[in-house]
């Protein structure tokens, strides 16, 4: 077969492969698509910048590679073959919080870990979103009555979507992420700014010398986390 054909042709116009045929025949449809008909002759799509940004954010989400407890095993299964979260525009696990948009909180948060999780959350650039995975991030789950367990992720960071289950199946997590994307696209899950405690308390004082001096004494790293089991629901 190959002996009959000339292998290399230098004249470009003479090249008539099947691919090129297909391209030529499809040309009309490609450039005069239905979408174009709808928009008329204008080559521009007009939309609000917000709306566009929301659509972009929801369509390309970088997840934080963040494992805590049992749920992280199911989270790994969600990322990996079979369930493949990547199909839903949300499957790029980033090891660094500085590159991530979404944090899935997969597991029980205990008193020692809560400040660390807060720090990781603070390190993520805005806009950032949080999916709470499993019962532990809702209420402490099966360990709620324990002495060391924080009763839900929301005691520490704001959570956009809760996925219940112990642990939730991968399908449930995919559904949760899809719901988050839907909310982001609709502009419902607005980016949350969490200020350190001191800034919230004293941020609106006038900047005179005393305030400047006091402000220099504040160590933003040294926030006090208070775990008060008695007042928790």
């Amino acid at each position: 077969m190959s002996s009959e054909r000339e292998l290399f042709r230098t004249d470009d116009t003479q090249v008539q492969t099947e691919t090129r045929d297909a391209r030529m025949t499809g040309q009309g449809d490609r450039f005069n698509s239905k979408l174009r008909e709808v928009f008329g002759s204008s080559p521009f799509i007009l939309t609000k910048f917000d709306k566009f940004m929301n659509w972009v954010r929801g369509s390309s989400m970088f997840m934080l590679q963040f494992g805590i407890a049992c749920c992280s095993i199911e989270m790994m299964h969600t990322y990996a073959v079979k369930h493949d979260l990547d199909r839903f525009h949300a499957g790029v696990p980033r090891a660094s919080p500085r590159q991530a948009d979404v944090m899935i909180v997969p597991g029980t948060i205990v008193s020692k870990f809560a400040p660390r999780m807060k720090r990781v959350y603070d390190q993520m650039p805005e806009p950032k979103f949080v999916v709470g995975m499993g019962s532990c991030t809702i209420s402490g789950g099966p360990f709620q009555e324990g002495y060391n367990v924080v009763k839900g992720a929301e005691e520490v960071i704001p959570v956009d979507i809760h996925v219940p289950g112990c642990p939730p199946r991968p399908e449930a997590l995919v559904y949760g992420v899809a719901k988050l994307q839907e909310r982001i696209a609709n502009g419902e899950a607005s980016p949350v700014t969490v200020k350190p405690y001191e800034l919230e308390q004293f941020g609106d004082l006038e900047q005179d010398e005393i305030v400047d001096e006091l402000a220099s004494e504040i160590d933003e790293e040294d926030l006090v986390m208070r775990y008060n089991w008695a007042d928790s629901p």
Binding site: C70, I73, K82, P115, R116, P142, F143, Y147, E221, L223
Partner: protein, 554 residues
């Protein structure tokens, strides 16, 4: 079955006991026997001498667990000793201490593994150990007030945890002044290579690890307290699934089931034992698959084919387990006295599914061997790195694939048989390379052996007469084991010797529930394996230990 074995063991223990009494004659204050072993009460200032004699002269070279508990009038530390040669030969040393001033001598100079165990006892119960090298809190934050497993602890009192406690060690004040090449690096608690929320405080000299100190407790979910608040019959069983959560649920459930069944004298029907054995080995395959996959991930550094293949094969095992138990991960399938329900109908379909899985396995493993163990790059990274000599491993109480990778022929399934293991034909893989590669090989060979066990179980279950399919023994709705009975029983979990100690007080809830976590002991060996090595070798060593933080911290 279990009571039968106990009957066989009794004479052996009897003869050993008189010898032990003679050996410890001047040290013994009292006797306080446990269900599983003779227990000698000694004075708190003779701990090292007693344990030293037992280790050197009587051959009790495995300190399996240190249990601490508080009674109304005293504190008690219990040292559960075993022999690596014969784990059925056990002895417990009970060390009561004053309620006002609980000070006891540390066992750390005799058994290195006592270091962390005693730190945990100090942290949770509040016993002070004299002569301990580094008695700090281990699971709870340094600022914690009170000892939560103590009797008068009020968990409603607020705890203040300032972020200062988690100060960034990379700041200037932590830099070593004397030697500018020394550097501190925090690995974790959020880091892809730590397999969860482990925090490694490493001191580096250039690229070499001078010292590494694992900082644990980021997943301390008070599992022991939860078990103590729950009833024996139904409420405790869901928790073991969450100790070692890498699909090893049934193995963990068995640890609790074995201890509680022996405590309450429950006989498990043979048919249920076979189902248990089959389910447990499926769990072991799934757990080892993830261990192999993440180990390759640590070595090669990306979500490459091996990890995806491992997940793919885990999915198959999980599907079978889901058919059997109704859950993917947290099975809650065992009941005291058996299992919750029979195999799924139609049975033939289920058997066929299991069979096709086990028949495929050798071929799959061949593929893994091509990709992993046969790969020169991986061999360069793992052969001869992370060396853990046999004696060191024993001293640290390492068990499971970590011990077997160091040439210690120790497997509870064979040496202290339970379930249906002693009726089946399988082997315990042992490698004597003592390095990362051997531990990897042991895991992969164990998968083969597990598949063999499953196949035999399926054969047995298939031919089991329909009228004799008894899945549960007759167990009273409320279990109240006799007052003041204590038992410590272990099984072979995915990571090693997983044990449960229960003290009953005549009520339907345990008075003390203590978990012996294999990972807790295994993780302690990390500094031995990685000090002086390069950072990547330390990461490889950590991966080869295959820890799961849910079990380390409990």
């Amino acid at each position: 079955m279990s009571s039968l074995q106990e009957g066989e063991e009794t004479p052996e223990i009897e003869s050993g006991e008189t010898e032990l009494e003679a050996l410890l004659d001047d040290l013994i204050v009292d006797r306080d026997d446990h269900e599983n072993a003779p227990a000698f009460v000694i004075r708190p200032d003779t701990v090292q001498e007693t344990l030293g004699r037992l280790k050197e002269e009587a051959g009790y070279d495995h300190l399996s667990l240190v249990t601490a508990e508080e009674y109304p009038d005293r504190y008690e530390s219990i040292y559960h000793l075993k022999k690596f040669d014969d784990p059925t030969d056990e002895v417990s040393i009970v060390v009561p201490t004053d309620a006002e001033n609980p000070v006891s001598e540390s066992a750390e100079p005799v058994f290195r593994t006592a270091d962390w165990h005693e730190r945990e006892a100090y942290d949770l119960v509040g016993i002070d150990y004299d002569d301990h090298p580094d008695l700090r809190r281990i699971l709870l934050p340094e600022t914690w007030q009170g000892h939560p497993m103590g009797r008068d602890y009020d968990q409603n009192r607020p705890q203040m945890v300032p972020l200062r406690e988690h100060a960034n060690p990379l700041e200037d004040d932590h830099r070593s002044e004397s030697d500018s090449d020394t550097m501190f690096v925090n690995i974790g608690p959020h880091h892809p290579a730590t397999h969860g929320v482990l925090h490694l405080e490493t001191t580096l000299d250039g690229e070499q690890v001078v010292d590494v100190e694992p900082d644990i407790g980021y997943l301390h979910r008070n599992e022991e307290q939860m078990a103590q608040q729950s009833t024996y019959r139904y409420q405790i069983m869901p928790y073991p699934d969450r100790w070692d959560y890498i699909s090893a649920g049934l193995l963990n459930e068995w640890a609790y089931a074995r201890a509680a069944e022996d405590l309450a004298d429950i006989e498990v029907p043979e048919y249920a034992q076979i189902i248990r054995t089959m389910g447990a080995e499926l769990c072991r395959i799934a757990a080892h698959m993830l261990a192999v996959g993440t180990f390759a991930l640590d070595i090669y550094g990306d979500f490459t084919a091996i990890f995806m293949y491992a997940i793919r094969d885990r999915e198959k095992a999980q599907n079978i387990l889901e058919d059997l138990t109704g859950q993917r991960l947290m099975f809650n399938y065992f009941r005291l006295g058996g299992v919750v329900w029979d195999l799924p109908e139609p049975r033939e379909e289920f058997f066929e599914k299991v069979r096709s899985f086990t028949e495929e396995l050798p071929e799959l493993l061949e593929e893994y061997h091509d990709l992993i163990t046969g790969n020169e790059i991986l061999q360069m990274r793992t052969v001869g790195t992370g060396v853990l000599p046999e004696e060191v491993a024993k001293n640290y109480g390492a068990t499971g694939p970590v011990a077997r990778g160091s040439g210690i022929d120790y497997d509870i399934r064979r040496d202290d048989p339970y379930g249906y293991y002693d009726e089946l034909d399988w082997e315990v893989p042992v490698e004597d390379g003592c390095d990362n590669f051997s531990r990897l090989l042991v895991r992969m060979r164990e998968v083969e052996e597990s598949a063999k066990i499953i196949e035999q179980c399926v054969d047995l279950l298939e031919d089991w007469p329909e009228e004799e399919r008894n899945i549960q023994a007759n167990v009273p709705r409320t279990l109240r084991p006799d007052d003041d009975t204590e038992i410590y029983r272990t099984v072979e979990g995915a990571k090693g010797e997983l044990g449960v100690y229960i003290r009953a007080d005549g009520t339907e809830k345990p008075a003390r529930f203590k978990i012996r976590s294999p990972c807790f002991s295994n993780l302690q060996t990390l500094p031995e394996m990685s000090n002086g090595e390069y950072i990547p070798d330390m990461i490889a060593a950590l991966g080869s230990l295959d820890i799961v933080l849910g079990e380390v911290d409990r």
